[in-house]
């Protein structure tokens, strides 16, 4: 059971190992707070859809399972989008179109197909939590690295002194690709996969 949770954080990390969900990973990680809010929103959708699909798994006819997954996922994404706009409008405008685009995040559809539609509710919950937190962690790390090298801050707190000259490329798409590939390389190195 514990394994279901842990694997999303490390061995099967959606970003660093499976390299899934690259669109939000690259696009919104200009700062720690953006990465964190995207990660949490995705985790919510993952957990809610996982619970729903797993508890309905015996009722859903096989032929329409993908359509069913999509109805469930897009409903939860819309809920998240409305709640973000209502309660944290500043973050919602920072994330822009990437918030509703969570619906196309393949981690979510992938987990329903590979896990929630086959396994009991409790295991699906742990799996979704693990994958979601693993995704959020990756986004937070990437966001912090890019924010640090862009303007010398992490989460808005000054880390590097005023001598630091801002690296504009880090908040641009090129900086996203560079830092992501370096982080994936580092992750492979640490986990001994080379």
């Amino acid at each position: 059971m514990v394994k279901d949770f842990i694997k999303g954080l490390w061995k099967e990390n959606p970003v660093f190992v499976q390299v899934l969900g690259m669109c939000p990973t690259l696009a919104v990680t200009t700062s720690l707070i953006n990465g964190l809010s995207m990660g949490l929103a995705t985790t919510f959708v993952l957990v809610a859809s996982g619970l729903a699909i797993s508890s309905l798994r015996k009722l859903i006819p096989d032929q329409v399972r993908i359509a069913t997954f999509m109805i469930v996922i897009s409903s939860f994404v819309t809920v998240v989008k409305l709640l973000f706009e209502a309660h944290i409008p500043a973050i919602s405008s920072q994330l822009g179109p990437y918030l509703p685009l969570i619906v196309t995040n393949c981690i979510i559809l992938g987990r329903q197909e590979a896990f929630a539609s086959k396994e009991p509710v409790s295991r699906s919950l742990l799996d979704a939590l693990g994958m979601g937190i693993g995704f959020a962690l990756a986004l937070v790390i990437l966001g912090s690295v890019r924010e640090l090298f862009y303007q010398g801050t992490i989460g808005g707190v000054q880390v590097l002194g005023s001598w630091y000259k801002s690296m504009i490329i880090m908040v641009q798409p090129a900086g996203a690709f560079i830092s992501l590939s370096l982080l994936v390389g580092l992750f492979q190195r640490i986990s001994g996969r080379k």
Partner: protein, 185 residues
């Protein structure tokens, strides 16, 4: 046949539940979202025409204009929104002008997708403050490296297109607002 029936039933029931849940959430969130938008407009009006104490929303010739009053209830200017293309996507700004339409009181960026670090600097105080008290007896001008003179704005280094976009958007809307006021008199 039985299979098809079950497929249709599953999708229909799920669709109904989803619709019900979404309409409930939307009922809850919509007033809050509207309130947030109004709050954003209010903050922008207070920011562009200082020191606004209260304002009134008026629609003139299809154009929404916010009349700003100071603490002694004196008309100190007008604020209005303007939009146009930036380097990436649409830029929406709020601009404030003096009551005689001879100077800009201030501008605020409501919406923009300019390149972070370059065009994104149009949101910075350094750029916006150039508009405070700007003379608009002529069209707003844009200079690159030379010192800006009366009625001119200095472009952000590396973001000439975004800077020019703001100037153009404001010039265009000023012309429109002027003609509305001229007709009104």
């Amino acid at each position: 046949m039985k299979k098809i029936g079950r497929m249709v039933l599953t999708l229909t029931v799920l669709g109904l539940i989803s619709g019900l849940v979404l309409s409930m959430v939307s009922n809850y969130a919509d007033p809050l979202i509207k309130q947030n938008q109004q709050e954003a407009i209010r903050e922008a009006v207070y920011y562009v025409v200082q020191p606004t104490e209260s304002y009134e929303k008026k629609t003139m010739d299809g154009k929404v204009i916010y009349e700003s009053y100071d603490s002694s209830n004196e008309l100190i200017g007008y604020a209005f929104t303007a939009s146009g293309s930036g380097y990436q996507g649409t830029i929406r700004v709020m601009a404030g002008v003096g009551p005689d339409l001879k100077e800009i009181k201030g501008i605020q960026i409501l919406e923009s997708n300019e390149t972070p670090g370059l065009g994104g600097k149009i949101r910075g105080e350094d750029f916006k403050n150039q508009f405070r008290g700007l003379n608009i007896s002529q069209e707003v001008g844009l200079v690159k490296t030379e010192e800006p003179e009366t009625g001119e704005i200095q472009a952000i280094t590396g973001a000439t297109i975004s800077s020019r976009a703001i100037v153009n958007i404001i010039n265009k809307e000023l012309t429109r607002v002027r003609s509305i006021f001229d007709e009104g008199e």
